[in-house]
């Protein structure tokens, strides 16, 4: 089986979905109205509410949501074989993520561009809003912890990437000064910046940096995690033009370069898929495909995090309501193509089935390492770039991705603590520095509590992160469903996905609690129980609210 067929299948399904299914949902279900005056116009203030060109908005939305999750999830999920992962990514993007992302933008735009949290309070009720706040806090906690561990693992597995990854930050800061302070020409500065970055990637393998076994009693993994959180804390407090803006810019540039090169390499080299279609021989201790597949791959199939971004900034800049189709559904498609590339890299990038089996010798074994090594091999075969440089390029791409998500997540978490300081009248918590300290502290606690410091069990928390992420998506879908029912529109296309992910999520949580319990991982077990309680409450709320709305609609019908 040639990887080109996987690519063609995935891309075809997703684009057919865009051309037919998204048009159906946009026209018949959400009924996007070109004459509706969006908040970008009615509340225009030149700052947050500014009508923006739909292609620019799509790019912005896509790069905001794209992180390391659509790479890590699929790369882990290939342990069950490439077919289940491929089907879930392709059809999940079309029927779940696209509907959810487009719906989140639409729901927010129809309600003065409020954020999903505020919206759940307005549309559904106070209980939904409280649940939403709890779930979003848990998601942010996990996202930051997991990505800290992910990047630390990347740096340890590929010491040649240490120089380019940290060097990219220096390059970004220099670009920031050049553009904002010295006002140099952007294309020129970009060119120099990209060249310097790729030179660092080229020479990185020749100057590998590996931390010593223990530093002040901490393992190499623990030291990297601490350094990364220290960096993220500083990055979230600096003015955006100094580091975040240029760093996101380079990130975007090399996302397009890296993704483009990877797909070109796949079509040129036509690598053979060595991974099994459905793995007949899963390693001992691997949970069963159902339901864990559906929470291992969240981003790339359905992710609640996108709803936060969609209702946070995207909805405030939507020029016309029909643009939600390109921006929302199209953004989900972008994630899907990233996930597809990860599946191909992790299943076709190895020389033999034996080699693949060795990497996927335990659950969580593949992950980013498989993406980097496998993708590196494909890049080498298709473009001739040496395997070390290819692997370094993909490592830098993944690390920068995860880094961006990490400090966005940290910044959002700081806002939550500051909001709590406001609500509960704790003056000290309202300030940026203590709130940042609390955010970093709680995420570090989770990272170390989940075994990230030992370097071995860090990704145990991944399915838990996927589940919580999808709980949030479930709540968003509830808001959308309620709005549809109130307008007497057929909401089945939203309610069915919502029911599916809630049921799967609860099942997956039950299994994970049992697994953590039997492995005596009390911290994780406790956390999973908290998420389960939240999940049960979310499900009950969804059922109760929908039943009430249906009755109300029938009464006035």
């Amino acid at each position: 089986m040639n990887a080109i067929f996987l690519a063609l299948f995935g891309l075809t399904v997703m684009f057919l979905g865009f051309f037919f299914y998204s048009r159906f949902i946009a026209d018949k279900i959400y009924q996007l109205d070109p004459d509706f005056e969006t908040p970008a116009h009615t509340m225009q203030d030149g700052v947050d509410y500014v009508p923006t060109n739909k292609f620019v908005l799509w790019g912005h939305h896509f790069t905001s949501v794209a992180g390391a999750a659509p790479i890590v999830g699929p790369a882990i999920a290939v342990i069950w074989g490439w077919l289940p992962a491929l089907l879930w990514v392709a059809f999940g993007t079309v029927f779940f993520a696209g509907v959810h992302d487009m719906g989140a933008v639409w729901a927010s735009v129809r309600n003065k561009a409020k954020s999903m949290g505020a919206l759940s309070g307005d549309v559904v009720g106070k209980r939904a809003r409280s649940l939403f706040m709890i779930v979003i806090f848990l998601v942010l906690l996990m996202v930051n912890a997991v990505f800290g561990v992910v990047i630390a693992n990347l740096l340890i597995n590929n010491p040649g990437s240490v120089v380019p990854v940290w060097g990219a930050i220096v390059v970004a800061m220099v670009i920031g000064q050049a553009i904002y302070r010295f006002k140099w020409n952007l294309p020129l500065v970009s060119l120099v910046g990209v060249v310097v970055l790729y030179m660092l990637i080229w020479t990185g393998p020749q100057v590998p940096i590996a931390l010593p076994e223990t530093t002040f009693g901490l393992s190499a993994s623990a030291t990297w995690i601490l350094l990364l959180f220290a960096y993220a804390a500083v990055a979230s407090l600096l003015p955006v033009w100094v580091l975040l803006q240029p760093r996101d810019y380079i990130n975007g540039l090399q996302l397009f370069v890296g993704l483009g090169l990877l797909y070109i390499a796949v079509f040129v080299a036509g690598p053979t898929v060595v991974a099994p279609m459905i793995n007949p021989d899963v390693p001992a201790g691997t949970p069963s495909l159902f339901p864990l597949l559906f929470v291992t791959i969240a981003c790339g199939a359905i992710s609640g995090f996108h709803g936060i971004v969609a209702s946070g900034t995207t909805s405030k800049q939507l020029n016309r309501e029909p643009d939600a189709r390109l921006v929302g559904y199209g953004g989900a498609l972008g994630e899907g193509t990233l996930a597809l590339a990860a599946i191909i890299a992790a299943s076709a990038g190895f020389a033999t089935y034996g080699e693949w089996k060795e990497v996927y010798s335990s659950f969580g074994g593949g992950g980013l390492k498989a993406f980097v090594d496998g993708g590196g091999a494909i890049l080498h075969a298709g473009t001739g770039i040496s395997p070390e440089v290819s692997a370094t390029m993909l490592t830098v791409m993944a690390a920068l991705f995860a880094g961006t998500t990490m400090d966005t997540g940290l910044r959002l978490q700081r806002y939550i603590f500051q909001e709590w300081g406001e609500i509960y009248n704790l003056g000290w918590m309202k300030k940026a520095a203590p709130a940042t300290f609390l955010s970093v502290g709680s995420c570090l606690a989770l990272a170390f509590g989940a075994g990230g410091a030992s370097g071995s069990g860090g990704l145990l928390i991944w399915p838990l992160f996927g589940t919580t992420n999808q709980l949030m998506a479930g709540l968003t879908l509830l808001v959308i469903a309620v709005m549809l029912v109130r307008r007497k529109t057929n909401a089945i296309f939203v309610i069915a996905p919502m029911a599916f992910i809630l049921v799967i999520g609860l099942l997956a949580l039950a299994i994970q609690i049992y697994t953590f319990f039997s492995q005596s991982k009390w911290f994780l077990c406790g956390l999973a129980i908290v998420v389960l309680v939240a999940g049960v409450l979310v499900t009950l709320e969804c059922a109760a609210v929908l039943r009430k709305e249906k009755q109300a609609a029938a009464a006035t019908g």
Binding site: V56, H60, S64, P187, V240, Q245
Partner: protein, 91 residues
Amino acid sequence: MSKLGNIKDWVLRANTALNTYYNAPYRAAIARARRDEDDLFMLLVFSEMMGIPNPASWYTLELQPLLLERFHDWHVRMGMEKSPFDHISCC
């Protein structure tokens, strides 16, 4: 249009597109920071009315009519329906 003109036109548009791509993600954050600074300046101009002695009040007096609209936007943004000061009747 001449070939050179076409190329120049394309380069100019590419330049604009790249600049948009650089600025778009953080345009709102930077605009917000700028608005906060402008708000601070506006409040300094009206500081005499709030009872805060202003050594430059003679000069800030001149600016008051220019900043009246800004003051109205500010108090609406802060959640106050009417102007909080008696001497400033913007609405």
